[in-house]
Subunit: 373 residues, 4 copies
C-alpha cells in the first residue's frame, strides 16, 4: 500500500485530534487511500512537542516549523496551529510541493484567506480547509438529501453555535487576542455555521448583523447575531456565542424546504431530525439514527446503533483528503477547499462590517485572477 509522509504543526487540541485520525484510519478505514506515516510534529514548546511526538509516534519533532515544511519526506502538511500561524507555513509548504490541510478559519480576515487560497492554488497541490463538521454523518446525509431534491426549494436556514466557556473574565487564551485569532466567537464558532450554511443551502448573498462583546476588557467578540439572505432566495439566521449557559458544543441548524425539513444538533451527533410532507396521517419529525442508514461513512465503523463520537469527523475528513490526493479527485464539494475557507471568511467579514456600519451588507466573492499571456 502506498504511503504518505505527514508533517503536523500543533500538538494541542487540533494537533491531537488530527493525529488520532491519522492513526485510526490506518486500520479502521481499510484499505485507506494512502497509509499515513507520521514524520514530524512542530510546536513552540520543546518539551511539550517532544512529549507529543513520543506519545503519538512521530519520527521527529521541531520547534521550528520551517524545518518541517522543508522536509522532503513530508508530502502532506497539516496545519493545526493558531490562526496567526495559518498563512505563512501553509503557503510555504504548498510552494514546497506539499499537499496542505489547514484548520479553520483559513485566515484571520477575508483578505488573508484570499491570499492563502491564491498562493496555494497557484502551486497545484491539493488543499483542504478543516471544516470537519461537513464530515459528521448527519450533515453529509443532509447534503445528499438536499442534492437529491428531497427537501425541495429551501426557504429557511436557522444555524447557531452555542458554547458557554467564555463567561470568565479571567480566562486568557490566544482565542481572545485579535491579532492571534482574528475574531472571537465569529471566526471560532461562527465560521463553522457559515460553512454549513454554504454546504447545505448555498452562497450567502447578504447579512444584517449585530456583533457583541459582553465581558469587559475582552478584545474580541463574544457573540454575534445575523439575519441572512441566500442567493437562492432562502432567508434565515446565523448566530454564535460563547456565553450560552448550558450548551457545551451546540452546533445546531434547521432547514425548511418546500418538501421537507431537516435539523441537527452536534450534541446528538448520531441523529438527524427529518420531517417530510407526505400526506400521511403520521406527520412528524423523525429522529433518524444516522448509524442505521446506508451511509458512505458508516462502512468503517460498527453495526447499526453503535454510536460514534466527535473525533470520527476527523477520520472522515482526512480519509476524504487522502482519497483526493491518491486518486487526483476533487476535494470539493464534500470537503471544503481553500476557496471555501476564503468564502466563509468573506461572510464573516461582512458580519463584522454590517454590525459596524449598521447596514445590510451584500457579499461579493473574489475569483482567482487567471494569469494572462
Amino acid at each position: 500500500m502506498e504511503q504518505i509522509g505527514v508533517g503536523m504543526l500543533g500538538y494541542a487540541f487540533m494537533g491531537r485530534a488530527h493525529t488520532d485520525a491519522y492513526k485510526k484510519l490506518r486500520y479502521m478505514t481499510w484499505p485507506p487511500p494512502l497509509l499515513p506515516q507520521l514524520i514530524m510534529i512542530a510546536g513552540r514548546n520543546a518539551e511539550a512537542v517532544a512529549g507529543a511526538a513520543g506519545r503519538y509516534g512521530y519520527e521527529a519533532w521541531t520547534t521550528d516549523w520551517h524545518r518541517l515544511v522543508a522536509d522532503p519526506r513530508i508530502e502532506l502538511f497539516d496545519n493545526g496551529g493558531p490562526n496567526a500561524l495559518h498563512a505563512e507555513p501553509t503557503i510555504t509548504a504548498a510552494r514546497n510541493g506539499k499537499h496542505v490541510l489547514c484548520e479553520k478559519p483559513l485566515g484571520r480576515t477575508a483578505s488573508e484567506s484570499y491570499e492563502i487560497w491564491r498562493a496555494v492554488a497557484a502551486t497545484g497541490v491539493k488543499h483542504m480547509c478543516g471544516f470537519n463538521y461537513r464530515f459528521v454523518p448527519a450533515n453529509r446525509m443532509a447534503r445528499e438529501m438536499i442534492e437529491a431534491g428531497e427537501i425541495g426549494e429551501i426557504r429557511h436556514f436557522r444555524g447557531r453555535y452555542l458554547q458557554d466557556w467564555g463567561d470568565d473574565p479571567s480566562l486568557d487564551t490566544w482565542r481572545f487576542h485579535a491579532e492571534q485569532a482574528g475574531s472571537g466567537a465569529l471566526g471560532d464558532l461562527g465560521a463553522h455555521v457559515v460553512d454549513l450554511a454554504r454546504f447545505l443551502v448555498g452562497e450567502v448573498a447578504s447579512v444584517a448583523s449585530i456583533v457583541k462583546a459582553f465581558i469587559p476588557g475582552r478584545k474580541v467578540d463574544d457573540a454575534f447575531e445575523a439575519a441572512v439572505a441566500f442567493e437562492n432566495g432562502a432567508v434565515g439566521t446565523i448566530e454564535a456565542t460563547r456565553l450560552a449557559l448550558g450548551h457545551k458544543n451546540a452546533l445546531q441548524w434547521e432547514i425548511n424546504g418546500s418538501k421537507a425539513s431537516l435539523a441537527f444538533d452536534l450534541e446528538r451527533l448520531n441523529e438527524l431530525q427529518f420531517f417530510r410532507s407526505d400526506g400521511d396521517r403520521t406527520r412528524g419529525f423523525k429522529t433518524v439514527l444516522v448509524s442505521e442508514a446506508d451511509h458512505p461513512f458508516w462502512r468503517w465503523w460498527w453495526p447499526p446503533g453503535h454510536m460514534i463520537g466527535w473525533e470520527h469527523t476527523f477520520v472522515h475528513e482526512i480519509h476524504h483528503f487522502l482519497q483526493a490526493i491518491a486518486e487526483g479527485s476533487e476535494v470539493a464539494p464534500y470537503g471544503a477547499t481553500f476557496e471555501d475557507g476564503y468564502r466563509a471568511a468573506e461572510v464573516c467579514d461582512a458580519i463584522l462590517r454590517s454590525s459596524q456600519c449598521r447596514v445590510r451588507e451584500d457579499i461579493s466573492y473574489r475569483a482567482l485572477v487567471e494569469p494572462t499571456g
Copy 2:
C-alpha cells in the same frame, strides 16, 4: 357574586376561544373575580353569529357592532374581530365606558396602535391586549424567575414562531390582505415573539431585519428574520414564518443569562427547560413539568402532571383582566396593556423599515401626551 356583562365581537377562532374561557372560568377559577354574563355577540354573517350565540349562550346577537358597543348591559367589550376592526369598535366601546380587551396585533401599524392606546387611555377604562402567551404557565414562571434574579443578567434571547400552513398559493383569508391584516407572519406570529421578548427580556432597542414573501402573488410577508439588540444589552434573534414544514405552532424561545438559561416550545406547553450553573456535577437542562410547580395558575386545574392545553391561556388571561377590573389593580406587568400592544407594533414596524431600508433601525417609543391645562 358580582357579575359583569360581556359583549363579544367575532365568533370565529378568537371569539370561540375567548367565549370558552368566559364559560370555564365561571366554575373552574372559583371564585372568579367577577361572574361573566354573556350578553351579546356580533359578527358579519347573521346565520353564523346567531348559531354561535345559541351554542355559547349569548343572550343576543347582532350583525352591527355599533349596537353591541352601545348596549348598556355590556361592561366589558372583547374584540376578537379581524385586525381592521380593532380600532373603531374598541375606541367606541371605551368611550362608552366599557372595559376593553382587544386581540393582537392591537392595530395594523404602530401609528394605528398608538391611536387606539391614546384614545382608550383617555377614557380611563381598563384595557388589555390579547397577548395570551404571557399566560402560558411556563412563560409566567420564566418571567417570575427572571424578576427574582435567578437567571442573572440576560445575554441572549432567541425567539421564533414557526408554522407551516402558508405554503399553498391558492389559500386566501383576510390574513393575506394587507389592508385587513396590516402584515403577514410579522403581525400574526411575530408580534407574539416580540411581546414575549419584551415581557421576558425588556425593551427592544434596535433591529436589523430581512422580511420575505415566498409565495408568488402574496401581498403580505410569509416570514421575517431579525437580529435584535435590547436596551439592557442583550442581543438575539426574532423570527417568524408560515413556511416551516413540520412545525404547526412552534412558538419557541431561549434565554441565556449570566446565571441560568431557560427555553420553551409552545408545542410542549406544559414544559419549561431550565439550566442553572450551580457547580453541581449533574449539569444539564431540566425538563420542568410546569404543572408540578407551585404556580399561580395551577390552583385552578388538576393535580400535578395532569396537562392543560392551549385554550387555558385564555382562561388565565381573562381571569387576570377581570381581577384588574374588580379590584382596580393594574393589568401590567403580567398582562399586556394597550401600551404593550403599541410598543410591540413599534418593533414590528421597525422590522419592516429595516428590511426596506437595509439599515439597522433604532426604535423609539412614544409616550402619551399629557393633556395641558
Copy 3:
C-alpha cells in the same frame, strides 16, 4: 335538541372532571348527541356538595345518593365516588332505568366487578367504565392503526404507570385503605395500563408478577411488576408505582409489531411516537403531533398544533357515551363497557394471586350466564 338529565355521585377529583366535560361538550362538540342537564349532585359533606352544586350549576344536591338514583329526571347516573361506592349505587341506578357511567376500577375485586356487570347488563341500560385514557387522541389513533394492520402482528407491549406522590408515610386517603380502594397502585394506576393493554393488544392470557408495599404500615400495594403473555402471542411487561420520583403522571406504553412500533407518554399526551419499517434511508421514530392528524376527536378543538389537555379525555369519553345512548350504538370497542371493567379486574386479581402464590397465573374470564327459560 334532545336533553338528558345527569346525576353525579362525587364532587371531588372525578366529579369535578366529569362535570367540566358535561358543561364543555354542550357547546364545543357541537351539536352534542344529547344536551346534558345537570340535575343533581351527591356527596357526603353537605357544605362541600352544596358548594359544588352552586359552582357547577347542578339544580339540586344531596348527601344521600339513594335520592339521586331514584330521581326520575335523571337519565344518566355518573359514579365518580370512591371504589367502595361503585357497586350499590350503580346497580340501583341501572335498575331504576338510568344509563350508568362508573369510574374505574369497576369494583374492588374481579368478583365485585363481575357482579356489577351482571346486574347492570340484566337491566338493558347502557354502561360504560371510566377508562378515560382510551380517549386520549394518541391512544385512539394507535388503536385505529393497529386495527388497520399498520403495526402488523404485535410482539411486545411494555406498559407502566409511574407516579411519585406515594412516598410520604404520613399521607392518608381512602386510596390507602384496602376496604375502600380494593388495592393500591394496582387498581388505581395498574388498571389503566391493563385496560390499554387490552384495548391495544388484546386479551391477557397469563401474568407472572411481584407486588410490593414499600411504606411501613401501608395496607395496600405501592407498586407491582408483571411479565405478561397475551392470547395472540405477544409478551411484555405491565407495571405501576406511586414511588417513581420525577414522574407525576407517566402512563407510558410501547408496542412493537412486525411492521411498526408505537409509543406514548401521558405527560406528552398530544404526541404519539411511531416507527415504520419501510426501507427508507430515513428510519427513525417520528414524533407525531396528534393534533395535526385527521382524527375523530380533533374536529371539536382548535387548529393543528393547538394542544389539548388531560381533561379533554372526559369530553371525548362522555361524548362517546351520549352518542351510544342517543343512537343506540355500542359503547364497545372504543369505549370500555362494564365487561371491560370486569376483565381488567380479572387481570388485576391475577397479578395479586401470582405474587402471593409465586406462580404464573393463567387468566380465565367469566361470561354472563344466560337466563334459562
Copy 4:
C-alpha cells in the same frame, strides 16, 4: 514504560473492537498503565485472520488458539471468540499464567460459567468479564452517585435491551444456535441488563419470567420478560428482545430511589437523565451531558461537549484491566470479574427456569469452594 504482550482470539466484531482499544489507549490514555504489544491473533479462517493481523499490526497470527495461549510472549489473553469457545481457551491461558479478559456471557450456562471462574480463580491471574457497558461514562457516574447515597434507597429498576435485527427467518449466525450461543436474546442482550442491574442496584433475589421465540424454527429465544426482586428490596423488570422495530441498540434502564431517579439509553450514550427531589420549584429530569461532568473517564478525551462513541467503552474497560494488572489492584467493583460473569449467568439461568416451570425462581449463588487442608 512497561509493556504487556497481548494475544487475541477472534478478529470479528469483538476482536476488532478490543484491538481498536489496545491501539488507542497506547496514546490517548497517557500514560497507560502498561503499553500493550499486539503479539498474536487467532481465528478459524486463515485468510481473514492473516488480513486482520496485517491491518491491526499483530506480529503473528494463527488458526490454532492452542498456539496462542501457549506463547510465552503473551501475558494477557483476550477472548473475543464465540460463546462456545470461552471456556477451554480461557482456562488454558490462565493455567499458563496469562491474565484473561473474556467476552460476555462468560459461559453458555451458569454451570459452565462457574467452572470457568473456579478454574481461573485457582490460578491467581487477573480475570475480567467483558461487560463493557459498566464503562459507559454515564453508567459509571450513576454507580458513583448511588454509592455516594445520592439516590437513596432504591425502589425500582426498569432495564431492557431492545434491538430489531432478529426479525428475518432466513438469518443464520452462531448466535441462533443453542450449542454455540447458549441462549438467544437472553445471553446476548439480557446478560448486559442483568450485569447493569447488579452493578447499579445489587444482587437479584428472584425472577418471574416469560421467555419467547417468535420466529418459526429458531432454536433460541428471541425475547424475554421478567419481573425481578432484588435482595435489598427493590423490584423491577428486566427485558430483552431482538424484535423491537425501531430500536437498534437501546440498552435502557431507569432507577427510582427514595431521593432521586436516574435513567439511561445507550442510543444517547453521552447523556444521563437525573431527577432529584430537592424541593425546588424547578423540578424535572435533567439531561446531564456526561462529558461536562468531572468524570474519571473524561480526562482522556476532548473538551466538554465533544461526544464520544460506543467503542470508547472498550478503551475504558481495558485501561481498567491493565491498571489492575500493573498495580495489583482489584478488578471489582467497577470492572466485572469472572464471579460477576458467573452471577449474571445464574440470573439468566433462573429466567429460563422460571419461564419453563411457571414459578418465581429464587436465585442462590455458589461461592468458590475453599481448598481444604
